[in-house]
């Protein structure tokens, strides 16, 4: 892809070296807290979601430690219920849903489009502060006694529980608006702020993925919003819509909740797919196989995701015909998903593969996601799901897709764009080591859970019969290893910010606009507005000098 961006020139000795970039162009707390720059907002999100991830991870470690003993090692049952609820709520609403769009999406998407910023920068900042406010409500809810309903807040227990359900509900409601406004912003940006010459089919696939995610965010999240409001009204005024004592229907809650929460899991995973699409092409230095297939499959997944919510409710007493339909559609959504997986593998095939840390995380993703996705199809089969519903098999399935796939893709994307955003590179040896530890630890945590789930271990149980103890203990050890790997990763990444080596101008040799902008980017992303004249993954345009010249 050639642009009219001149080759980056450094005039040594002028103003002490390089031109100002977005990190140092203005200084001081308010220049960050009141920034309208999408890159700074993205970094603030990054810090926030990382903290949320570590908090959610801490709750996870507490859960796993507690389950070391069949009678429960650490807590009484009621407290255990709160701990796993916190783990789920923090991870789903405060970490996974906002993480990739809020951090990498915000930082990278406008640059990839050749724009100076997102379409609605003040709305972007508002989205961030809504995230902060929602998180504060969640923290308040913990201080106000916690909540123990599970992250799914099923009626009627969520109506009767005497704990801080309304507080966390309001927090999630506010977080929902953060999500809606972020999605709205990205849709408008994609439609209106593409550089001249960038047609829809010259957009990088990360943009397609975020676009599909944004459609889901805008259309699905309001339904969660109204559901939470109704639960709050029920608790406050006895509205009676979900409470069977008042004529309401608790299964209606499940329908409302999953109508959002199934698209929500695609809100979580589609950006991860986008990251993998970018990484496989750059680190194999080969155009993406099946570009249009991958682009359309993102949209197809977004559409079909609205039609499968009932597969979370196969044991709730739906009509058989409804269950047939949901099961069939669940299998059907696996098709565009598999198209992606195969296209990624085909991209790597016979490419010039660089076995660096982003690529290792990508390969780990491809293996883990295959397992996660296939076990989802297994759960979509009615006769099997009757036995596996609410067992550890389900827990293992969604951790394979949420932790093993989405979180790994997030890590991969961080490693990939780290040199671009910060102009420094982390210790590659430690990165490879951490990837290995995370891969081993992750599988060690969750494979035992597949096995014990298939043998009947129910989920969300604070205690269990002794037969399951070896599986639980293996899983706990795996979780500790996984935690160590994550800690190592955070360690060397932070260290790189303090004392890292300078990165290269175009560290990995990408050809999309994000790699052609200066490193780190200036405030308005480019020195001169780019014009696009070539196809999107045309590596013949790659200037190898930029992959060898360090940032000044």
């Amino acid at each position: 892809m050639t642009t009219n961006v001149p080759a980056y020139e450094v005039h040594a000795g002028e103003h002490g070296g390089a031109k100002p970039n977005f990190l140092n162009v203005t200084k001081g707390f308010m220049s960050w807290a009141a920034t309208l720059d999408h890159k700074r907002i993205g970094i603030m999100y990054l810090i926030g979601v990382t903290a949320a991830f570590l908090a959610g991870g801490l709750f996870a470690l507490l859960v796993r430690l507690h389950l070391w003993e069949p009678t429960g090692l650490l807590f009484d049952n009621a407290t255990y219920n709160q701990i796993f609820t916190l783990h789920g709520a923090f991870m789903v609403f405060i970490f996974v849903i906002p993480a990739i769009p809020g951090s990498l999406g915000n930082i990278v998407l406008p640059i990839m489009l050749g724009a100076k910023d997102v379409a609605l920068p003040r709305l972007n900042l508002l989205s961030f502060y809504l995230w902060v406010t929602g998180t504060c409500f969640a923290l308040y809810a913990i201080l106000a006694g916690g909540f123990d309903t599970g992250w799914t807040f099923y009626a009627p227990y969520s109506l009767y529980s005497t704990q801080a359900v309304i507080s966390i509900g309001l927090g999630i409601f506010i977080l929902g608006f953060s999500s809606i406004f972020t999605g709205l912003n990205f849709i408008v940006t994609t439609h209106k702020l593409r550089a001249p010459g960038m047609t829809w089919f010259r957009m990088p696939l990360f943009v397609w993925a975020i676009y599909a995610t944004s459609i889901l965010q805008v259309l699905a999240t309001p339904v969660l919003g109204i559901t939470i409001l109704l639960v709050a009204f029920e608790r406050l005024y006895g509205v009676g819509i979900f409470d069977p004592r008042l004529g309401g229907d608790p299964v209606l809650f499940e329908h409302f909740f999953w109508f959002y929460s199934h698209p929500a899991v695609y809100i979580m995973v589609l950006p991860a797919f986008g990251i993998i699409s970018e990484l496989v092409t750059v680190h194999s230095r080969k155009p993406l196989f099946g570009y249009k297939l991958i682009a359309f499959s993102s949209i197809a997944i977004a559409v079909i995701s609205f039609l499968v919510w009932g597969h979370h409710m196969f044991t709730s007493g739906q009509s058989t015909y409804a269950m047939f339909a949901f099961s069939f559609l669940t299998f059907f959504v696996a098709i565009p998903t598999a198209i992606k997986e195969f296209s990624w593998v085909a991209t790597i095939w016979k490419g010039s593969i660089a076995m660096n840390s982003p690529m290792l995380y990508t390969l780990a993703f491809l293996i883990i996601f295959a397992i996660g996705g296939l076990t989802g199809v297994i759960l979509g089969a009615l006769n099997v799901d009757i036995h596996l519903h609410d067992t550890y098999f389900v827990v293992a399935h969604f951790h394979y897709v949420m932790m093993g796939s989405i979180a790994l893709a997030f890590f991969a994307g961080l490693h990939h764009w780290w040199p671009k955003i910060f102009g420094v590179i982390y210790n590659e040896g430690l990165a490879k080591l951490a990837c290995g530890i995370i891969f081993v630890g992750f599988n060690a945590t969750f494979i035992p859970q597949f096995v014990m789930g298939s043998r009947g271990m129910p989920r969300r149980y604070a205690t269990y019969i002794e037969d399951y103890q070896p599986f639980h203990q293996a899983s706990t050890i795996g979780a500790m290893v996984l935690g160590a790997g994550v800690a190592l990763m955070v360690g060397y990444l932070v260290h790189s910010l303090l004392a890292g080596k300078k990165a290269m101008q175009n560290h990995w040799g990408g050809v999309t606009l994000d790699w052609l902008s200066p490193t780190p980017p200036p405030l308005e992303n480019f020195d001169e507005a780019p014009v696009v004249t070539t196809e999107v993954y045309d590596y013949s345009t790659l200037d190898l000098k930029t992959t060898q010249t360090p940032v000044r």
Partner: protein, 242 residues
């Protein structure tokens, strides 16, 4: 359009009494800014429709399950007052559209007048709503079932139905729960819309809106039309169908 400071695009005022508008720095042309804002706002309206959509889904579900309750409950509502409210909102949508038109031809006085009329419509609507709610209070037809506890743990006895109008149908409280939830959330949006129109009036008085820049008036107008549209669906479903 002109450029000042070497970078910003400025839309000039069409005459004395009006202010120029500076296009946001990340847009290249005023048209791009206008289109981006409009697209964003339509997306936001879509989210509002989905928010109410959940409530309509609940309405249809319970209507299906308890048709008698909805028939008798709907008969308790004053359809004449509801009809007046419908006409008031429809008229206010017209005045709002006229307001947008006034902005488009730089008629500041008329813009202010039409906005004021629209707000007046909103106030009339809320007053009639208040009267209706008052009547429900008097009959003890409120959304709370006796035996429930509020957030402070105190027993609530609001749904008393002391005139026994809902006797004989199952779960009479459900109809009123849905009625109050839907109309209250709608009423909240009426108030928000009125607030936005007042904000427009402040800007209009300063001369911010004119033929070259009327975007905020346009978008607030869209919001008001949505508020009206939702009532057009609420009124027949709650008042007329039973």
């Amino acid at each position: 359009m002109s450029h000042d400071h070497g970078h910003s695009v400025v839309v000039p005022a069409p005459g004395p009494g009006f202010l120029p508008h500076t296009v946001a720095h990340h847009f290249d042309t005023p048209k791009q800014e206008f289109q981006a804002a409009k697209l964003g706002f339509w997306l936001f309206l879509a989210t509002e429709i989905l928010l109410f959509g959940g409530l309509f889904a609940a309405y249809f579900y319970f209507h299906q399950v308890y048709p008698e309750t909805f028939k008798v409950g709907g008969a308790q509502l004053n359809w004449r007052l509801g009809a007046v409210n419908t006409i008031v909102l429809l008229l206010s949508s017209w005045t709002m559209a006229m307001g947008v038109r006034s902005a488009q031809v730089s008629q500041k006085g008329k813009l202010l007048m039409y906005c004021a009329l629209t707000v007046l419509g909103a106030v009339i609507f809320m007053c009639i709503k208040f009267v209706e709610y008052q009547a429900k209070f008097d009959h003890g037809l409120l959304p709370v079932f006796g035996g429930m506890h509020d957030a402070l743990g105190q027993q609530l006895q609001w749904y008393t139905d002391h005139d026994g109008v809902m006797a004989g149908v199952p779960h009479g409280n459900l109809f009123f729960s849905i009625y109050f939830t839907m109309t209250a959330i709608h009423g909240l949006h009426v108030i928000i819309g009125a607030g936005l129109i007042v904000w427009i009036m402040f800007g209009a008085a300063k001369g911010r809106f004119h033929a070259n820049y009327f975007l905020p008036v346009d978008l607030v107008g869209l919001y008001w039309h949505l508020v009206d549209l939702i009532w057009i669906f609420l009124f027949p479903l709650l008042y007329l169908v039973p």
